[in-house]
């Protein structure tokens, strides 16, 4: 009973406006093929288990509160009936459990497909952000992006999963279950979004101090938008249009920023941090931490260790003017 009530409470909670800027992150809000299959299984098992729980607790209360005619310990007929009841309850348990087991095997089947995927994206997780590499049809890498995955709706997308430092786990509950990313191994995850939307995902395996702030955004869009996005991302970075942004580029290239970050089309070719070629077009900064605005870019550059304590971006000493200039430049990288 409790489970049911709470399920309803969970449903109510879901009805609240969660589809804000960060997208949904809930196993019960399924928008992908796998997640829908999983949601069906979850509801089935929860329902069956809730019924079992109600039955057991009901019997317990009945047994506690029933009127006792006489004290019948050691009563042979009584014991025989009890034994029969226990064994039939056991048989029922076996049948229910077998049913749920087979149901979960069928669901496991639904998660796997041997068809060749339509899109392959390479994901590499590191402390505490995600790197995605898109490739062309010959599997040559086209471009890299970070913390934001774009996928076409209605297509099979294969994500290859690798970890560069410790174990991480890619989890986008609205689209699919999670899959670990383990150093020295290569795993795979299939995504198949059924509807357009923005879905939030998060690292699910404890990966160190900023495990809490290792989110990503999945943008599921229709074929045309996706193609347009791909075309846009392949271009090198736009040249700055304002003087301030121009100065920002100079600061970026002159300071150690360029040692860790790449901006295609410039001399910045570092590979330690995320590729910033089109940072201005992304939804979030710092792996889902902040929306990309000029103000948040400036705040992040000025003091990354206060916003995300322990993250791997070292504080680079910049004057306030320099911070303004760099943030203007980065914001313009759409």
């Amino acid at each position: 009973m409790r489970s049911k009530l709470n399920l309803r409470a969970g449903g109510l909670l879901l009805a609240l406006p969660l589809c804000g800027c960060n997208g949904t992150q809930s196993a019960l809000h399924a928008e992908g093929q796998a997640a829908t299959a999983l949601k069906g299984l979850i509801l089935l098992i929860v329902l069956v288990c809730a019924l079992v729980w109600i039955a057991v607790v009901g019997v317990l209360f009945w047994a506690l509160l029933r009127r006792r005619t006489e004290f019948a310990a050691g009563n042979k007929i009584h014991d025989h009936r009890l034994r029969l009841a226990v064994y039939s309850a056991l048989a029922a348990t076996a049948i229910i459990v077998a049913g749920l087991t087979v149901a979960s095997f069928y669901a496991t089947r639904a998660l796997y497909s041997s068809h060749p995927p339509d899109v392959i994206v390479q994901a590499k997780a590191q402390q505490w952000w995600w790197q995605f590499t898109y490739a062309d049809s010959e599997n040559r890498p086209l471009f890299q992006t970070a913390n934001e995955l774009h996928i076409p709706v209605g297509k099979d997308v294969l994500i290859t999963l690798e970890a560069l430092d410790v174990i991480h786990s890619l989890w986008i509950p609205a689209l699919a279950g999670k899959q670990d990313m383990i150093p020295g191994r290569r795993n795979e995850q299939r995504l198949h979004a059924e509807r357009q939307g923005i879905y939030r995902g998060q690292c699910a395996e404890f990966c160190g101090i900023q495990h809490s702030h290792m989110a990503l955004v999945v943008v599921a869009e229709d074929e045309d938008d996706y193609a347009a996005w791909l075309a846009e991302q392949q271009k090198p970075a736009a040249d700055p249009i304002t003087a301030e942004a121009e100065a920002g580029r100079a600061v970026f290239l002159g300071k150690p920023c360029a040692a860790c970050h790449t901006i295609r089309g410039t001399a910045a070719k570092g590979s330690t941090g995320p590729d910033l070629t089109h940072i201005g077009s992304r939804q979030t900064l710092g792996a889902g931490l902040l929306p990309v605005t000029r103000g948040s870019l400036a705040a992040w550059i000025a003091d990354p260790q206060t916003l995300k304590p322990g993250n791997n971006m070292p504080l680079v000493p910049l004057s306030s003017d320099e911070v303004r200039q760099v943030s203007a430049y980065l914001e313009g990288l759409r």
């Binding site: 040692a259 330690t272 322990g310 504080l315 680079v316």
Partner: protein, 198 residues
């Protein structure tokens, strides 16, 4: 109050001493992690008093006030190790055995083995190609990096050292004192006064 025999009193005193000693030891090995140093300490760390020759000097008061973390704290040392790769030190110094720049593990320090000298070298640069990192790194980052470089050239393994990397590395892990293993004095012996202090 029950009067315990002498042996018992001695034993309990010994037990208390053991517990206190454990506490003191762990206290000494204490490794708090700070990710962002307050600005006054940052400024204080820059306050090194270098000898006129640019070799050797006294660390600033802030360094002592913080409990000398950059020599003994393994977290700071491992941060230094990361900074070593992030700021491209390997471009000239390789994995520590040198390249265009000098080696850190050959038992020879051009500007002396002191931490302050190393900090000064990183911060202000040195002739013949060592650039200044003053504007690229914060003071505590420079100290972290210096601490790591010093531990890299140490002759005996120190308790606080970054562990080995999870990749193929040609030099032994820092906690095994690579300088001790790799250093080959060759025909001319190294200068004991210039050797790194362990």
């Amino acid at each position: 109050m029950k009067q315990y025999p002498v042996a018992v009193r001695l034993a309990s005193a010994a037990g208390a001493v053991v517990v206190l000693a454990m506490a003191a030891y762990v206290g000494w090995a204490r490794e708090p992690r700070t990710f962002r140093l307050p600005p006054p300490l940052q400024a204080g760390l820059n306050d090194i008093k270098l000898m006129a020759s640019g070799i050797g000097g006294a660390p600033p008061e802030a360094f002592f006030a913080m409990g000398k973390p950059y020599e003994a704290g393994s977290f700071e040392l491992s941060q230094g190790k990361r900074l070593y790769s992030w700021f491209g030190c390997a471009a000239c110094h390789g994995d520590g055995q040198g390249g265009k720049g000098p080696s850190f593990i050959d038992g020879w320090w051009l500007y002396g083995p002191g931490l302050v000298s190393i900090v000064a070298s990183i911060r202000d640069g040195r002739p013949h190609g060592m650039p200044a990192f003053r504007d690229k790194m914060t003071a505590d980052e420079i100290w972290q990096l210096a601490g790591y470089i010093k531990s890299l050239g140490a002759y005996s393994a120190h308790l606080s050292a970054p562990g080995r990397n999870d990749d193929k590395s040609p030099i032994p892990a820092e906690n095994r004192a690579p300088a001790e293993i790799l250093f080959d004095p060759g025909p001319t012996p190294h200068h004991p006064d210039q050797g790194p202090t362990p």
